[in-house]
């Protein structure tokens, strides 16, 4: 077994038995489940809205090269610089170069999964730059030295008591402080950081092709400050984030909000189309947009998997996934957890190392049911399993099992050969781990098939 798979089994085994973890996650996802139906009410036909969104993303991804070039052309005209990064290292090198040119000591950033993907904070720390997370959830995670637990709600696994303890330990606040007091503490610290920061880094929820802009969705205003306050704004976005037109936001903003948090629309939605223009009073002096591939073109090249690039990272599939709810976001060991993570990680980081994630699913199909853009997530997991088998990554014993299974299933007589006692012995031996928590399987002496034949024969 690969190390990644062994780690996954070890971590998920611990979490699945952790009742306190289960309680917190069920509580937080329960709150989400209660509000999402309210958000959906804003759509006259939510199914149609999802289909339209899928269609728009299909159009964007099928013409991805042109969409991105149009974006580049238009935003460049307004003075932004676009950098194409094939992998994480190229993105990091570009950021380092900008930081050095600006003499950057402190950098503020908004929540962005793609910066997690390239491990930006670790990198900046190594080159002596302070990087401060300004989203409250991310700030909590940064204080705790943990990656985000969830792509939308990074500290979902922490209760308010957990956060109060953490703040007390790291910032010396009252261990019994209320969430409001804790928020004010964080706000005060972060405001100072905004003033000190030379560079602001954000992700992009959407890359808007026609107007050459990026759109950022958030609830705290921290991303807007990160865009606007420091002298330099760096955007890092995966190339799949494209939508063809600004008009598409009329659909995608409410869709992302509803499926992400149950809101009709999030509190702050910002479109940025370049640095400060000549006639403008505020905004950064310079803006850079780093368009990151980092394995996404592998998915683009794979016709079956391509639709996973439609994902708008709303997190609905995580909240709907019984596996995610049992093992939590960290057990996956990947930047993107939950069903979408299990679908894309093998293509971003290698099938052999990450194929186990596609098997760690009961295929209940609830992810597909809730996906805002109707990605057939559980079918893509099946496609991944198929790809892994075709590439020969299954263990030898498993390959043999299916060969024998095929022979047996093609000859009915084989299924009637053994009596119940023999089957009971054999199956319970083979299915070893089945029995440890579920007891033995008891086979009746004769199969239905045998009994039917005897009954019909005697008539």
């Amino acid at each position: 077994m690969k190390e990644t798979a062994a780690n996954f089994i070890a971590k998920s085994t611990i979490k699945a038995a952790d009742k306190e973890h289960r309680r917190k996650i069920n509580f937080n996802i329960g709150k989400y489940n209660a509000v999402v139906p309210q958000g959906k009410e804003q759509f006259t036909d939510v199914q149609l809205a999802r289909e339209r969104a899928k269609n728009i993303k299909w159009r964007a991804i099928e013409a991805l090269d042109k969409q991105l070039e149009d974006f580049e052309l238009t935003i460049t005209r307004r003075g932004a610089k676009v950098i194409w990064a094939e992998d994480a290292q190229q993105a990091l090198d570009a950021i380092q170069k900008i930081c050095e040119a600006k003499g950057c000591k402190t950098l503020v950033k908004s929540k962005s999964m793609v910066t997690e993907e390239i491990h930006l904070n670790d990198f900046l720390e190594k080159i002596g730059i302070e990087s401060v997370e300004t989203d409250l959830g991310e700030y909590i995670q940064q204080l705790d030295g943990e990656p985000p637990y969830h792509i939308v709600t990074p500290a979902m696994h922490k209760s308010k008591e957990d956060v109060a303890r953490l703040f007390a330990e790291k910032l010396g606040t009252d261990p019994k402080a209320t969430p409001q007091q804790l928020t004010l503490t964080a706000r005060k610290i972060l405001r100072d950081k905004y003033v000190q920061a030379d560079i602001g880094v954000t992700g992009a929820n959407f890359i808007i092709s026609d107007i050459g802009g990026i759109a950022v969705t958030e609830n705290e205003g921290n991303a807007r400050l990160s865009c606007a306050f420091p002298k330099t704004h760096i955007v890092i976005a995966g190339i799949e984030k494209v939508i063809p037109s600004m008009h598409d936001l009329a659909l995608f903003w409410p869709l992302l909000s509803t499926f992400g948090t149950g809101q009709n629309v999030t509190v702050y939605n910002t479109i940025v189309t370049g640095p400060r223009q000549e006639n403008e009073k505020d905004g950064p002096e310079e803006m850079y947009v780093i368009l990151l591939d980092n394995g996404r073109t592998n998915i683009l090249a794979n016709e079956k998997q391509r639709e996973s690039l439609y994902c708008i990272r709303c997190g609905a599939c995580l909240n709907a996934c019984p596996v995610y709810k049992n093992i939590g976001g960290h057990a996956y060991g990947a930047t993107y957890s939950g069903p979408i993570g299990s679908v894309i990680t093998p293509h971003l980081r290698g099938m052999e190392e990450w194929k186990h994630l596609s098997h760690a699913s009961s295929l209940c199909g609830n992810c597909t049911e809730v996906c805002a853009v109707k990605i057939n997530l559980h079918e893509l997991l099946l496609d991944n399993r198929h790809e892994a088998a075709q590439e020969g990554y299954a263990p030898f014993a498993e390959k043999m099992i299916w060969k024998v299974w095929r022979i047996a299933m093609l000859r009915r007589s084989w299924m009637n050969m053994a009596n119940g006692n023999m089957k009971t012995r054999l199956i319970n031996k083979v299915a070893g781990s089945w029995t440890s928590h579920r007891g033995k399987l008891d086979f009746p002496q004769k199969s239905f098939n045998q009994q039917w034949k005897e009954k019909m024969g005697s008539k």
């Binding site: 019984p322 009961s362 095929r406 089945w434």
Partner: protein, 245 residues
């Protein structure tokens, strides 16, 4: 219950029902015959091909699916005591036989095959089979029932007409029980964690019976229940429908 439908039906008895729960197959036959169906069973049938498909071994699966297509040729409707297997034939054969000469046969087969409660309610129009079972029960929506066969009301309608049976709904009723085929063995601890929550939700209703359309879910849950020594009995819906008469 009307017993003059006179419909010919083919039985599909999935491999694990055949091997582990033959009485459920006989109970389904008993109900179908009472409903006036003439039941036939092709004794050469084996499996729908789902296990290998889900494991990623599509070539092996396709060989078995081809046999299934042959075993179930004809125009009779097909009834199976499993939403998982019926759902697989309905939704995934088309993936395997895409762009092949079998395309039409597969489309036609997917329309002919029905899960038992779907068949009773939507095809025969029968909601009361005259069954009786005393006690409190809760119904578990199998994922395949809910999301592959799109049945939710059907089993509940049948159960609502069982004399003496008091039906209550559990929390998170649409959440997977954690079986998931090889998942239950490969990722046993996650599977057990999911099963535990399902069983705890069922117990919280005070039910004595946990009923579903799928023995695959129930075999996993009953195993867990037995280990814990809980007073809760899983029952296949066909077994419930054949009770008391």
């Amino acid at each position: 219950m009307a017993n003059s439908t006179g419909m010919n039906v083919q039985l599909f008895i999935p491999c694990f029902i055949d091997q582990l729960y033959p009485e459920t197959a006989f109970n389904m036959i008993k109900v179908l015959e009472k409903a006036g169906c003439t039941v036939s069973y092709n004794t050469s049938q084996t499996c729908c091909g789902q296990p290998a498909f889900n494991a990623g071994f599509w070539e092996e699966s396709k060989a078995v699916c081809s046999k299934f297509l042959k075993d179930f040729e004809g125009t009779d409707l097909i009834v199976a005591p499993s939403a998982s297997c019926a759902g697989f034939v309905k939704n995934y054969y088309s993936k395997l036989f895409d762009n092949s000469s079998m395309h039409h046969a597969v489309t036609e087969l997917s329309n002919r095959i029905h899960e038992f409660s779907d068949f009773m309610v939507n095809i025969l129009g029968i909601e009361n089979v005259g069954a009786s079972l005393k006690g409190k029960a809760t119904y578990h929506d199998s994922c395949a029932g809910l999301r592959e066969c799109r049945i939710k009301k059907e089993p509940r309608k049948l159960l609502a007409n069982v004399k003496g049976l008091e039906l209550t709904e559990m929390n998170d009723v649409e959440t997977c029980c954690g079986f998931g085929g090889t998942f239950a063995v490969k990722f046993e601890h996650i599977s057990i964690g999911m099963g535990e929550q399902k069983v705890e939700n069922a117990l919280a209703t005070g039910a004595e019976y946990l009923i579903s359309t799928d023995h695959s879910c129930l075999m996993h849950l009953q195993g867990y229940i037995n280990q814990k020594g809980y007073h809760l009995k899983t029952m296949h819906i066909a077994d419930v429908m054949a009770s008391g008469w």
